[in-house]
Subunit: 270 residues, 3 copies
């Protein structure tokens, strides 16, 4: 058995046993859908963004998600407070730099958070990750303009520089801490027809990171879990409305054993 698959399965089991609490400061568009994905997966979501309470809430969580999809200054300040509170307690912080590269404000905010905080995992698409690395990326909204392959070298450099795990999702997902490089083959094109699937990958990564201290294994496991759910959902539903519904059904139905047998997580020999 592939050891990475086994670790993914173990992490999923622990997420469910502990009903891991994930505190998200995230964008308005995906609050409902990511909360439902976490619940379907067996985790427990909480949203809180007021500066009056984010530090206290972050301290209760198993992991903290910072997602800049509909950012504004007061929320960014809350992200800094929550992230720092989590850092002080060793609670993993996951950053989703939604739309970095599209506007200067997003790029600058993503870089500031990535630099000032101790980020466990950055989860983005290729364009967003390139922007974070200071490269000239052309983002069209929240879509990925760059190929994951092209971004591989950049991801390794970025992971080294920020001392973080970088997880780039695309046709094939890439996860690296700068030394180990994993490829995760999973997912379906229909996921691109549902809003916030990237953000869902991020919150699931957070749930896994709460119970798996090797964040490379955690991110790869979460992406495999979500990708397989997407594949199975597509075989149930060929259109995005019912596909979206099936996706949550499958996050709920999938067992750790399924992950052992079906995950396609592979280490890249460099």
């Amino acid at each position: 058995v592939n050891d990475w698959n086994q670790r993914a399965a173990d992490a999923l089991q622990r997420v469910r046993q502990r009903r891991v609490l994930v505190h998200s400061i995230t964008n308005y568009v995906v609050m409902n859908s990511t909360a439902n994905a976490l619940l379907a997966s067996g985790a427990s979501p909480v949203m809180a963004h007021a500066q009056e309470e984010v530090e206290e809430m972050a301290a209760l969580a198993g992991a903290v998600v910072l997602n800049i999809g509909t950012l504004q200054p007061s929320w960014v300040r809350a992200m800094q407070l929550a992230g720092a509170a989590a850092n002080r307690r060793g609670i993993p912080v996951i950053l989703d730099p939604v739309g970095a590269g599209a506007t200067r404000y997003r790029t600058d905010t993503a870089r500031m958070l990535a630099t000032d905080l101790d980020i466990a995992v950055v989860r983005g698409n290729a364009s967003e990750t390139l922007s974070l690395a200071g490269l000239d990326a052309t983002t069209k909204g929240v879509d990925a303009a760059h190929d994951v392959e092209e971004a591989s070298r950049v991801a390794i450099d970025l992971a080294h520089r920020l001392e973080t795990v970088v997880a780039i999702t695309g046709e094939v997902d890439l996860v690296t801490d700068g030394s180990t490089v994993l490829r995760v083959r999973a997912g379906h094109t229909l996921m691109g027809y549902v809003t916030g699937t990237g953000c869902t990958a991020t919150v699931l990564t957070a749930a896994f990171a709460a119970v798996e201290p090797d964040f490379v294994a955690a991110a790869a496991g979460a992406l495999a879990y979500f990708g397989i759910a997407g594949e199975r959902a597509a075989s149930r539903s060929p259109s995005p409305g019912s596909f979206r519904v099936a996706l949550d059904d499958l996050l709920y139905e999938m067992t750790p054993d399924d992950l052992v047998h079906e995950a396609r997580i592979h280490e890249v020999t460099r």
Copy 2:
């Protein structure tokens, strides 16, 4: 026929006939799902949170919902204004103290609103209600750590003290104004795998309270209605994605007659 069941059925019918307008100042996570639940039930939702308009909007409504799930100071101020405007006109105000007990800010805000305003019904889980009563409750996110049974005595005291109806949802729901105590047996564990089902119970309570001046009957009726929808939805869909869809279908399909025959609302002899 159980008189409480009959009153629940009558209330549902009036909600639909009058297409009751429910004005919610609520959390971002559930805005879409609670609006859809109200529409499926035959009511009419509106959301407005700007201090520039909440008093005017509240005055148009049949009931006002104050839900602190993603609170921040400007929204709390809007809740005070909307609540006071509703109080001046005798429009029932329903409070959902989401996450009270989890952070000091939530606990303090929930208590402030419950004290300063004339609240028709407080709808929460056991932990949140205990926190509101000033008892030491350990809330894990928005989950219920306390059993409804344990909270019964506290609810009666709280209802007396605040001169409100307290509705605690859990495996068995409890509704009391401090004198009458009702138990509502309804619901399904899958409801815990969908975000905002508690918040949906709250908006349905608001819709019923708009047409049933006995708020004990209104709250029990709404909880029975929602719980039965949950049971039926679970028999259609064993997983949370499709369960969520079926839940709205059943709120729409259920008739007042179904409530007469299936509601399990019972008065507790004390």
Copy 3:
């Protein structure tokens, strides 16, 4: 073949080919559902509301949506900035005056945006449009209290006065630039049991306006497309939960050819 139908079909094809980016500054309730509707239709949604970035984001878009459903002053200011940035570049701006007439703040804001900006299309229900025209309309929440027929004359006047296209949705939709008047017969009563269907009509109008410079044709085409999806969805699902899911499925499944054959867009001889 009806030329309006053909143009609707051509527009849908171009939306998909170009994967048109629609930048919405919209209400919290419908952010998720309108993003999903755009994706299902083959367009690409982005949400951004911070004054720090809206001008830059609007400049990237094919069309900009301003929707006042949960307005507050800082968001209104962002709408002004985004709208002006779009106007400077000739990017169409679509206004959805949600709830105009319900509160003075909404009415005033809708009028201010309609007057200060160069609006390509105003998409609202009859009550909202009447309010925009300064007539005494009684809005009950976001429902339409006025008949589309009654509003026809007002729409023509308003279109002249604001030099915009006015699209009023109701049992029969009406689209006019003050000279040409189109009627679109499409839709189903179940659409009134799902939150944000009006807002979805608006974002689809924006997507079509991004690729069809005749905004009368664009609006009518989008409304026909959405209405037919609604009819087909209703024949799949008789209840609002599953209807909502089917609606996105059908936006995805419908072909330009379907629009050629099934759209019922008719020019009114005056």
